[in-house]
Symmetry: C2
Subunit: 527 residues, 2 copies
């Protein structure tokens, strides 16, 4: 049952007066349940509990944390159809997407469970003493990663499961040993509460310290602001708009003790189309890209919002085909009236810029809250001079830039903001022949894709999801894959510490059998 209350540790709480409801964009009506916004007192309580839980939780073995993570995954599955139905009623997304995202969420939780069970992720490093070294003895030094402390995770509008309550940020923080306070996303507060109940049950069932998790409702910015400014909070995870992410980054940077904010934000995900590839595969590419641009109603951070080609008859044919194909695709529902409102107004602004030609736009009479997919074109010079055209339009929209030549193409790439992804559509000899294009693109992105589409973010260790600002606030970390655990940990060294007082990861006998750097050699051997 969804109560509309907050979880403060393991307890439901509703001390506030402010309520709000979620919205069903398919039916264009509010859902029934009122959600109670967290009060300053409830925020304080959640942080106090998290702070108290941090030491015990941070010192748990990998196996204990894995139990917790796996129990959360089991609990989410056990929510069954109720979760799927709530998800769909709060997002307008189809059941298939809900089930796919649930699968991904569970997969992420289990991947982190496996990571911490195995244990080598702590990057244990040992340099043994040299007591007779001159002029001074060398001490024994041992280093490993430990948790930062309580982490605040903001739910993401477009990933109610995989990047919200028990999503990638939360799973990574739990795996690291950090208590988590979720600032629930108001658009899918019911989905959030159901998942929160699974986390709370898992915490009880596996005997986690109370306060390892809280879930706070809020429809405005007050709760999030209070959380990020609180001295008890040690790091922040966010997925969403540049405006939102930057605001949190600024709050965190202005604290007496600044804390890391990992915000994964906007991206137009440039796709570079080189001439030979367009000539040989233009038709097929147009069809593929019509699908990628409209996938999930364009509500992915990796949506290809910018196609860069070089003027030619083939590019013209490609644009024509892309326009024809995209119009054929059935329109679909966006997450919320606010989202479609922003899509329509940003698109309108882009379309009103001088030099923009609309090549395809679905007619006005689509169902309410359904997005009208759109393709436009512009000349390279115009694009270079107008930064408005560089901005993300969250939804099924893409602009094709017709560059004069390869030099202008390179200049445009160099002038782009940081991006999550960059795609190169090219024949292999074109890749070899254009090292400057490749290196310019590499310089601007977190992930380079060859002859593919940027949508579809594989969850695996080799995935980098993040990139130069504003793709993310710190390009040195990823938001997807098990290496995202590194956002929430810091190294600590032990100098001349007695062996039996060391964490197991650093003991001579290597009781966990993990891979360690011992006197500069990677080994699983005991000392």
């Amino acid at each position: 049952m969804i109560t509309g209350k907050n979880y403060i540790g393991n307890r439901l709480s509703a001390k506030g007066e402010i309520t709000y409801k979620t919205f069903n964009p398919q039916l264009n009506t509010e859902n029934d349940i009122p959600f109670m916004e967290a009060t300053p007192g409830e925020i304080e309580e959640a942080i106090t509990l998290a702070t108290a839980a941090a030491t015990e939780f941070g010192a748990l073995t990998g196996n204990r944390k894995a139990e917790f993570l796996n129990a959360i995954a089991d609990g989410i599955l056990a929510l069954g159809d109720k979760l799927i139905k709530t998800y769909c009623s709060e997002t307008g997304l189809p059941e298939g997407r809900a089930m796919g995202e649930r699968g991904r969420t569970i997969g992420q939780l289990r991947a982190f469970a496996k990571l911490v069970e195995e244990g080598s992720w702590v990057e244990a490093s040992i340099d043994t003493a040299i007591p007779d070294r001159t002029p001074i003895p060398k001490p024994d030094l041992r280093k490993m990663l430990i948790p930062l402390g309580p982490v605040v995770v903001f739910g993401a509008s477009n990933f109610p499961l995989a990047y919200s309550t028990a999503g990638g940020d939360t799973a990574a923080a739990f795996a690291a040993g950090c208590p988590v306070i979720v600032k629930s996303h108001p658009m899918h507060a019911g989905t959030g509460e159901l998942v929160a109940s699974a986390i709370v049950n898992a915490a009880k069932q596996t005997n986690m310290p109370i306060g390892v998790f809280s879930n706070l409702n809020s429809s405005g910015i007050e709760v999030g602001t209070a959380l990020v400014q609180h001295p008890g909070v040690k790091a922040v995870g966010f997925t969403g708009s540049i405006g939102g992410g930057r605001a949190l980054f600024n709050l965190a940077a202005q604290r007496e003790e600044p804390i890391p904010v990992f915000a994964e934000m906007g991206s137009v995900n440039p796709v570079v189309l080189l001439p030979e590839a367009v000539l040989k595969r233009g038709e097929a590419l147009a069809k593929t890209y019509a699908g990628s641009i409209t996938l999930g109603t364009g509500q992915f951070c990796t949506n290809p919002g910018l196609l860069l080609g070089i003027k030619s008859g083939e590019l013209t044919a490609f644009i024509k085909k892309l326009s024809d194909e995209i119009i054929k695709i059935e329109p679909s529902c966006m997450l919320h009236p606010n989202i479609i409102g922003a899509y329509e107004s940003k698109k309108e602004k882009a379309l009103s810029q001088s030099g923009i030609t609309v090549k395809a736009e679905l007619e006005k009479s689509v169902q309410v809250n359904y997005a009208r997919q759109t393709v436009t074109t512009v000349e390279g010079n115009t694009f270079l001079q107008n930064k408005t055209l560089h901005q993300e339009i969250f939804g099924p929209y893409s602009i094709v830039v017709q560059c004069e030549d390869v030099n202008q193409l390179e200049e445009i790439i160099k002038n782009l903001e940081g991006q999550l992804t960059g795609t190169l559509i090219a024949e292999e000899q074109e890749l070899t022949a254009n090292p400057n294009i490749v290196s310019a693109l590499q310089n601007r992105v977190g992930r380079l894709i060859y002859n593919g589409v940027p949508t579809g973010v594989e969850v695996c260790p080799s995935m980098q999801h993040g990139g130069p600002y504003p793709a993310s606030t710190d390009s040195r970390f990823t938001a997807v894959g098990v290496h995202s655990i590194k956002r929430w940990v810091r190294p600590i060294s032990y100098q001349d510490w007695p062996n039996d007082q060391l964490p197991d990861e650093l003991k001579n006998e290597n009781p966990l059998g993990i891979l360690r750097l011992v006197n500069n050699e990677q080994t699983k051997s005991a000392l």
Copy 2:
């Protein structure tokens, strides 16, 4: 020869009008050579060159970067006595220290050379494709670390060699493949220019791209401010005061594109003295700590400025002995009149706080610019309530807090700011008996030391030098040891990229023979 000019890439340049001189604190006079402050035009030129050099330098093989790093080390050695004499004349430090620091600097450069020659530091990770996976095929993904781009390094007043021009930050950035622009420290501009000449010669000799290095003089904040605000700069390294580091952090966070600032700042390095250890080893400890507090005239970021004990006859005896011993030590010269000025005024402020008792203070008639070592005591309650007493006093000063009991000791540790180090002086059974003390200390520091002194920072992979704010601006990184390279790099993924177009680190055949994570297994094998 020291010219007083800036290095803009490989070229000496002095377009400005503002000059300043360094100071010999032993002789209490200015040194002869005027240094020419860099102009806005020179700053712009240095950044333009660094930006142009970034792509070529960033793509060099590990072997080529190692040549450069080793050539710098050779060049610094070849500066011979001239370097040592200049160092001493600009710092008042003895020759032995200058030679020791030179050895450390060279050792760091060679350690980074070895790291990049071997190559596994890029954390290469490969997940191979599963084309027949359902519902969607798995792409081939490969990830490795690449350089961020031009890095600005600020010279440190207290480490003219090891943490300045060719110090740890610079060596790590070069190893990462980032061009470096040094903002030379005004107090040792001559030492800086000599080392800069060695870097420039090494760059020429090993055919590095012009702009891989520049050295800019400045005595005020203008040059540093302009550098940190410039869009061409991608990261900043700093070692120094909290005020200075925080100012740079703020500038970087306020940029349109925020950039990482790794600032290693202040610390009082708490030393916890447990009763049994004081009882058994109080006399020896007092002698050891008198030495550690006065080492290098207390001008180390790891200087033990805070001793925490529990009231007892033995602690009183320890304080008496520490006071007696510290007075016996010959006073020594501080780096600059400004440094001794700050030491005296901060100490005076501390001594004027209510509840402070001076236990030892060298009499006033020491030589000019020589510091008067001082030991004070205070009650636990008074210390808890007065944050002024928690602040670093850079120099040979330490305060002993006499706690009521172990609970108050724990409370005090929990109320400390973040620290580079925390030391526990204890018998082994005391360590076992006080898990709360250990965990409270662990929570506040980057390095835990058992029965030792915090001064002396071993350069090795297992060293963590950095800690919770304000010890550093980002506790997730270290400033010392080869892992400090991680400050200047970011991961990039290649998806379905053709094998022969991949960097060597990610090619199927593993031509570099590096350790890679291949489908979740660490291996040096080819695919």
